[in-house]
Symmetry: C2
Subunit: 425 residues, 2 copies
């Protein structure tokens, strides 16, 4: 079968990435106005009940960080039922399935399998009118369900894209998962080196396009010393004193409000008894910045102040039984990155949002898209297709009003088609 371009000029340029000279608004209009897109929209509209059913089913399969396997297997089955062939689970645990295009390029479209909620969380879905409520129902289970609906609509409307699309339900987006799923996909998996663009589905508002990846660096710093009796061994170095000094120095760091840069001590622990000098204490530290340069600066400043605090304690008290040493262990690293506002993927996505009468907002966040951004692969994060709120809390909710849902689905589909290039039989 041979595919002709929907609009020979526009779409060939879009797929080739040389669209800078083109009008993204016109391209978006062409996609949205096309017969296949209208047909896909009708399919999605008729598909609402199944969408809700699948959303509930997936939400009720717990998927804590590092324990995404059950949900991965369920999603694998649903992807196959939705018409995607060549679906598999890779070595990291990502569900991946390729939808072949007609030309060049490989666009990843992903949603993450994991939620922030630990094992034992009650994930049963409650329904109030057009709201579904459950931990994880929005973030990012709705993203997974949206992928299923989009594939069915594209197949039913016989939509082909120029670039291949790799649909991914990935592991490890939240917290200590540390973006491991997408890291693996782009730097180790079988598609390593072949991905040309990436669209992460992981936002609440369809009008928001995330093109800045807030980078983060996380440490668990362990301070060790000889320990001893609080009275009998008084005068020996105390790792809690070194850590307290480090925290005090850290708290005095000056960071710019813009580019937004933040730091946090999120947890402390250590010591066994009030009347013993601890032999070990530790703290968990989080630093983030919209700017790669600022993140590097605060990272270096933090490591230096930890060294200074340790040195000061070793100079202040006796090291005759041993000295204090600090071991900063990286427990999280989300590379920062940015897709330029002029990049075709950003301009096309913005044009689609505008074409639906909304004002696109370009923001920075920390999502799976950080990884491609840091690797120089143009990437954005877009909405899951419906409003929602209270993410990361047990009161999380997502709106499934059919009209709103359809518009969210349409925006996502149009962005994907704009980025991957729409071809037609």
């Amino acid at each position: 079968m041979r595919y002709r371009l929907l609009s020979a000029v526009t779409l060939a340029a879009m797929a080739s990435g040389s669209v800078a000279a083109q009008d993204p608004g016109a391209a978006a209009g062409a996609i949205i106005g096309s017969a296949p897109f209208k047909q896909a929209s009708a399919v999605m509209q008729a598909d609402q009940d199944r969408f809700v059913r699948e959303l509930i089913a997936l939400t009720e399969i717990p998927s804590p960080p590092f324990k995404e396997q059950r949900r991965a297997e369920a999603f694998l089955g649903m992807l196959r039922q939705s018409g995607l062939s060549d679906v598999e689970i890779d070595s990291e645990g990502n569900v991946i399935g390729l939808r072949k295009g007609t030309g060049a390029g490989l666009v990843v479209v992903n949603a993450h399998l994991d939620t922030v909620f630990p094992e034992g969380t009650d994930v049963r879905v409650k329904r109030q009118g057009t709201r579904l409520m459950a931990p994880g129902v929005g973030d990012d289970t709705r993203g997974l369900t949206l992928i299923l609906a989009l594939i069915r609509a594209m197949d039913a409307a016989k939509i082909r894209t120029v670039s291949d699309i790799l649909f991914v339900g990935n592991v490890g987006e939240e917290g200590e998962g540390d973006l491991r799923g997408i890291k693996y996909l782009l730097t180790k998996g079988k598609y390593k080196g072949r991905v040309t663009q990436m669209i992460a589905i992981d936002g609440t508002e369809s009008s928001v396009i995330t093109r800045g990846g807030v980078g983060s660096k996380r440490y668990r710093v362990t301070f060790k010393g000889p320990g001893g009796h609080s009275y009998g061994a008084f005068g020996l170095v105390n790792p809690a004193f070194a850590m307290g000094d480090a925290i005090a120095r850290f708290s005095r760091l000056q960071v710019p409000a813009s580019p937004k840069t933040t730091f946090n001590v999120g947890a402390v622990r250590g010591g066994t008894s009030v009347n013993a000098i601890p032999s070990e204490v530790s703290m968990d530290v989080d630093m983030r910045s919209v700017s790669c340069g600022e993140l590097k600066k605060i990272d270096a400043a933090f490591l230096a102040l930890v060294r200074d605090a340790v040195d000061a304690e070793n100079k202040t008290r006796s090291t005759r039984e041993g000295s204090i040493a600090a071991e900063p262990k990286v427990i999280g690293e989300r590379p920062c990155g940015e897709t330029p506002s002029t990049a075709p993927i950003v301009r096309r996505a913005g044009a689609v949002v505008s074409a639906f009468g909304q004002t696109p907002a370009f923001e920075s966040s920390s999502t799976d898209a950080n990884i491609p951004m840091s690797l120089g692969i143009p990437a954005i994060t877009i909405g899951r297709g419906g409003p929602g709120g209270r993410q990361h809390s047990p009161d999380e909710w997502t709106e499934i009003d059919p009209k709103l849902n359809l518009q969210g689905e349409q925006i996502a589909l149009a962005i994907i088609l704009g980025v991957a290039g729409m071809a037609q039989a």
Copy 2:
């Protein structure tokens, strides 16, 4: 029955407390040289096997802090078998039994029931030659066993004292027990207000007489704040920063080497996630001093610096969602105190040690004797009757060589008789 004084001049003076003008050395010599003391010594010598049997039996009954009941009941039974009548367990859990004297005064002779070891510790006694090894075998189970042996010897030798002696196996000496047993005994129990002197049996060396009570003050300070997302809510006050600042200030306090004064941060905890500003963190702090004045000074300085650190954090960052508050909760308070070197109880005990050819060492420590000292009741802590080591560790051991044990028992008995006054039928 009427009792005549062993040495009318010496012992009447000793019991009445007006011994300052007397020669404690002569008094000690008179006791040790007396026929009843020699008879008691012979009884103790013959009693070695039972002493060891009882020491092993009591050691193998676990007695963690706040869980002394099983051992208390066993000790109650043994006290009765050893000849003490009117034995009971008071409302705090102390085993108490009165041995009537012929005259005035009430001397408490105590050892503590509790060990530092938690439930589940293997407390089976191992024997290597003349060493017994087990957690708690010395501290203070040997003190309990010594009390049993002393009562049997006094009874067999028909020794009567001038003052009543209240033998006590008390709860709550170790750690968070916070001296609750003796606190209750002296300030709430049925003998409240009647105790005139106290001898705590809780030391390793028979030559060491503890006459200084190292006071301690312990806090768990909880720092609370509004919490929030490490990135989204950055700029809000962080209780970990306030606590770190407090620790840093604390670590810079200057304390005298003499009178020895110490401070410690023994444990820290709090926070739930690296990417959340904690809503609560806490630390456990221990301060001690040989000097009541210095303990008060460091206590006040500590509370002030906690306030300063909280104020500084509330001024440095935003309190729009709430401010930081610190709650210092007293988790331990051992009052300091001292029995003067000129007090009869100290001079008599020292003279007994000298009479056995050893050089008495007068020290400060933190024991049950802190309580009477703080109340102005003359008190000392003496040895358990045998060398030992590694107290508070699983490798604890105590020496039961019969000759060494007998001498330890003799020193303890002579000190008790010197303090309570020895009368004879």
